[in-house]
């Protein structure tokens, strides 16, 4: 437990004493060790103490958020006084309601065998330099590495009796990789983020070697352009981003009801009916689950103290359950499903994804491929985007092979473009494999100021029929 837990409780109670109907304090305390490398050279590093408290207050139906990094009673009193005043003065046209009280008391932690605080700096530096060396040996001429090891404790305490203590351990690694190619340079981010102790780095060298080998191969061999209409077999990395962008984001309750309208946007789900509207074929079932150990999106209680659980966003092509926090749980009449996350003490908790994936189907990979006369096998992607209703999406293939007469050939297809609506995309799916891989770790951005939270995404492989290339 952090030495500042008493201060968090003091602030929560001080808000109650000063007229808050509801108050909460979320304390973060810990350290971050970070490095930046460029082509193997360590160009910067630091060990950062990281602490602060974020308070939310409800007063007369008005909501406020205040954060402080100066952890003194004086600063907390000043922040809470401001917070209560802001909430009271907002006098909203529609009062915010968090629904029935939540009073969970629990402790949870990220499973970590080797505590990141015990890992010598030299060990971290050596590992990063070894990873850089294998990337160089794979033929990658430009490499930037950004690394952070986070060991944090989080303490959530609310006026309703919730007390959640958690020990977080996260490794973040992003390699910015550029390989000179025949036609152009090829660029890609290699993301190895995971919730784990230092043992999570054991496979990193192998993973970087594998990934950089693939990037170098694309740079040297990918030159075959295809046009017209083809079938696609799409690997878990691409399935993951599709699930995240075309299903996860539009399922966010705050988007559906317009709260993210100014920046992140709204959602095409607004005009659909839960439990009735079809957005894909029967093969498409998309799940969201924060409780998967090791993933970037791992948690057991959300940032409002609600117990985490699996959510079924789309079942057999029909939209079923939006992601909800307490406020939007009331608005939808469904209650929270534990989707409230905050990226740091200085960010308001809002509705976020955790780990989003397509439920495995009943095909083997060979069964998917053998039935394709002419198509593309897309293992990974590069450029992508989607509109702010989450309806018009684009995915550009990175490592892609031509499929002919049911066989994956050695011919690498250069940057094929899938430019599809969400419904067009999910409706074209006619097969999903039995396996499940979370091949896509990423940082999901939302809100203003931005909140990047680690997420995972994945699935098996899927087959999509009759896609006209963009």
């Amino acid at each position: 437990m952090s030495e500042y837990a008493d201060l968090a409780e003091f602030g929560m109670e001080y808000a109650q004493d000063h007229g808050a109907d509801y108050s909460e304090a979320r304390l973060i305390d810990g350290q971050r060790v970070a490095f930046v490398l460029h082509n193997g050279n360590l160009i910067s590093g630091s060990e950062l103490p990281w602490k602060g408290i974020g308070f939310r207050v409800l007063c007369n139906g008005g909501l406020s958020f205040v954060s402080v990094d100066n952890l003194t009673k004086k600063a907390v009193k000043s922040a809470i006084t401001t917070s209560v005043k802001m909430a009271r003065n907002s006098n909203p046209k529609e009062k915010i309601d968090f629904g029935p009280p939540v009073s969970n008391v629990a402790k949870w932690k990220v499973p970590a065998k080797e505590n990141l605080r015990d890992v010598p700096l030299e060990t971290m530096i050596t590992k990063l330099q070894e990873m850089d060396k294998v990337a160089e040996d794979a033929g990658i001429n430009t490499r930037a590495t950004i690394f952070e090891a986070q060991s944090l404790t989080k303490y959530l305490v609310t006026s309703e009796g919730t007390k959640i203590e958690s020990d977080l351990s996260m490794l973040k690694f992003i390699g910015v990789i550029t390989a000179k190619g025949v036609l152009d340079s090829e660029q890609r981010y290699v993301d190895l983020t995971r919730s784990t102790g230092w043992e999570g780095t054991k496979t990193w060298i192998e993973e970087v070697e594998n990934e950089c080998g693939r990037i170098a191969k694309v740079a040297s061999q990918s030159d075959h352009k295809l046009t017209g209409k083809v079938d696609f077999v799409v690997g878990p990395e691409v399935v993951g981003i599709i699930c995240h962008e075309n299903a996860g984001h539009p399922s966010e309750g705050d988007r559906i009801m317009g709260r993210e309208g100014a920046q992140a946007g709204e959602s095409f789900w607004r005009d659909l009916t839960l439990g009735k509207s079809r957005v894909g074929s029967d093969h498409v079932t998309i799940l969201e689950d924060p409780t998967i150990p090791g993933t970037g999106g791992y948690y057991l209680y959300d940032d409002e103290g609600v117990k985490a659980r699996e959510r079924v966003l789309i079942k057999n092509g029909i939209i079923t359950e939006p992601l909800l926090n307490r406020e939007f749980g009331v608005k939808f009449g469904m209650g929270s499903n534990g989707s409230s996350r905050s990226s740091d003490f200085n960010r308001e908790p809002i509705i976020r994804m955790a780990n989003t994936y397509m439920k495995p189907g009943d095909f083997t990979f060979n069964e998917l491929v053998e039935d394709v006369k002419h198509g593309i096998y897309m293992l990974s992607f590069t450029e992508w985007n989607i509109d702010d209703r989450r309806y018009q999406s684009k995915y550009v293939g990175f490592e892609c092979y031509e499929i002919k007469d049911g066989e994956i050939t050695e011919t690498m297809v250069r940057r094929p473009v899938m430019e599809l609506t969400s419904i067009g995309l999910f409706s074209s799916v006619d097969g999903v494999t039995k396996d499940l891989n979370f091949d896509f770790p990423g940082i999901c951005g939302k809100s203003d100021p931005g909140q990047g939270v680690p997420v995972y995404a994945g699935g098996g492989s899927i087959r999509m029929r009759g896609i006209r290339l963009g």
Partner: protein, 480 residues
């Protein structure tokens, strides 16, 4: 939005000042003295004290009021000539500061030599504050009380001009900074700022408009804020019954928000850090003609009213006005002391602690205010074309296949219109610009005379830019 890694240059905005809490200032000085006693090669500290507020609103009502209070010291420590550590912490007292400085020195001793550090400014300059008048609003504290009322006025204005639903965010606040360096330079500065995004919708999801306003003096901003809201309302109303675009080549008239996001990326690529890590299109283009003669772009750290305007950079070097593109030709990169040395030049006063989003910060060049020249065409003159042309008022989710070749796509959102017979005609929706930004740059056809400062969610570097017309842009749409 899934960000992947976002290359973020932390732009410090400073302006003259004197009212930082004396305790924080003295703790910065104390940190420097602790480092000097330990005989480090360099210790440089930046103390910052900020109180920033935000009001977020949607569905015609305020959702939440926020405030961030922060006291922070960021420290650069260099030992053994070029072993570098950059850290930050919220200071409590001298005991804690001493502990942090010692920890950071120990950390730097574990580092290997960095080829990316070759010193900082060593001369102590008299800081000329004359360019920084009107960067601090002395009524900012009282304004916090008034701001919700101003936002309700904006919501009403958007509705009065045609919106059915209004959403947005209004960020404002004050910051003060104190820089101290064992190499010599010191300086203290303060500023205030505001930044409004208003988005107006009809009942349908795909009829919307956006208005932006930003600047330094919140209490003088009400007229601009209300105008931004009115623009959002008008655009959303005009965008009703938008039609699907057909894919193909079009000329595009980019309003300043769109031009800043897309075209602004080229001058911001004139950064040695971006070049070294493969994230720049300009690594091999010095002296090349990239745009027509009438295009001139500067990185101006002294731009009056600029949201990145400061008297000195993080290294203590005076800010400059650096010509990046002159008459269409790439003339210079921005530099800090280190990259100035690397490229046989001098610092252009662009030193900053650059933040990649995760990981440690590094001391490197970062853009200040990107300033395009104002053009000489009225908006009506820009519309006066017989070519197939689209006017785009907002875009988002710009992503690259290659930062070097600038192959990219972005999604226009909110109001867009076909231009016919010199007027805005059919409202348009559901399309994507998929092209190379270097191609757009070469195809700049005309520049408007309506230059404004843009900084919002999709434009992190303050960019002064007018409406710009670009020929032959590739438009794509969903194939099913």
């Amino acid at each position: 939005m899934l960000e992947g890694v976002q290359y973020v240059c932390e732009v410090l905005d400073w302006v003259k000042v004197n009212d930082m809490d004396d305790t924080l200032r003295s703790l910065v000085d104390y940190a420097i003295s602790v480092g000097q006693k330990q005989k480090v090669d360099l210790i440089l500290g930046l103390g910052s004290q900020s109180m920033n507020n935000q009001i977020r609103f949607s569905q015609n009502k305020i959702d939440i009021n926020k405030q961030w209070q922060s006291d922070l010291i960021e420290l650069l420590v260099v030992v053994e000539g070029n072993q570098v550590s950059i850290g930050s912490f919220s200071p409590r007292d001298e005991v804690y500061v001493k502990e942090r400085v010692h920890a950071q020195i120990k950390f730097a001793q574990n580092m290997t030599p960095s080829p990316f550090f070759m010193g900082v400014e060593s001369e102590k300059h008299e800081i000329d504050h004359s360019s920084y008048d009107n960067h601090f609003d002395s009524n900012i504290d009282e304004y916090r009380e008034k701001a919700p009322q101003v936002i309700n006025t904006c919501i009403d204005e958007a509705i009065n001009t045609g919106a059915k639903r209004v959403a947005g965010s209004f960020l404002f606040g004050k910051n003060s900074y104190y820089l101290s360096s064992s190499a010599g330079p010191t300086g203290s500065f303060k500023n205030t700022f505001y930044n409004l995004t208003v988005r107006a919708f009809q009942e349908e999801l795909d009829a919307s408009g956006q208005g932006l306003a930003c600047g330094r003096i919140p209490t003088s901003s009400e007229k601009d804020l209300v105008q931004a809201a009115a623009k959002a309302g008008q655009f959303s109303k005009s965008h009703k019954n938008a039609q699907q675009v057909k894919a193909g080549l079009y000329d595009i008239i980019m309003n300043p928000a769109v031009a800043a996001n897309i075209l602004g990326k080229i001058p911001q690529d004139a950064n040695p850090l971006a070049i070294l890590i493969g994230m720049s299109s300009l690594g091999d283009k010095m002296g090349e003609k990239l745009a027509p003669d009438f295009v001139n772009i500067e990185d101006n750290g002294m731009q009056p009213g600029g949201l990145a305007t400061t008297p000195i950079d993080i290294e203590g070097t005076s800010r400059y006005n650096t010509p990046i593109i002159h008459e269409g030709v790439l003339k210079s990169y921005i530099h800090n002391t280190t990259t100035g040395n690397m490229f046989q030049g001098e610092s252009t006063g662009n030193g900053a602690f650059v933040d990649f989003g995760i990981g440690s910060k590094i001391m490197a060049p970062a853009p200040t205010n990107t300033v395009f020249n104002n053009g000489d065409h009225s908006f009506d003159e820009l519309l006066d074309t017989s070519r197939k042309t689209i006017y785009v008022t907002c875009n988002w989710y710009t992503r690259f296949t290659s930062r070097i070749s600038t192959e990219y796509s972005t999604i226009p959102r909110d109001a867009a219109f076909l231009v016919e017979k010199g007027e805005l005609s059919t409202p348009l929706k559901n399309f994507r610009i998929s092209d190379k930004i270097l191609n757009h740059f070469a195809n700049i056809d005309a520049m408007g005379n309506d230059r404004v400062q843009v900084k919002w969610w999709e434009v992190s570097v303050p960019t002064w830019i007018p409406t710009i017309r670009v020929k032959d842009c590739r438009i794509t749409t969903a194939t099913q």
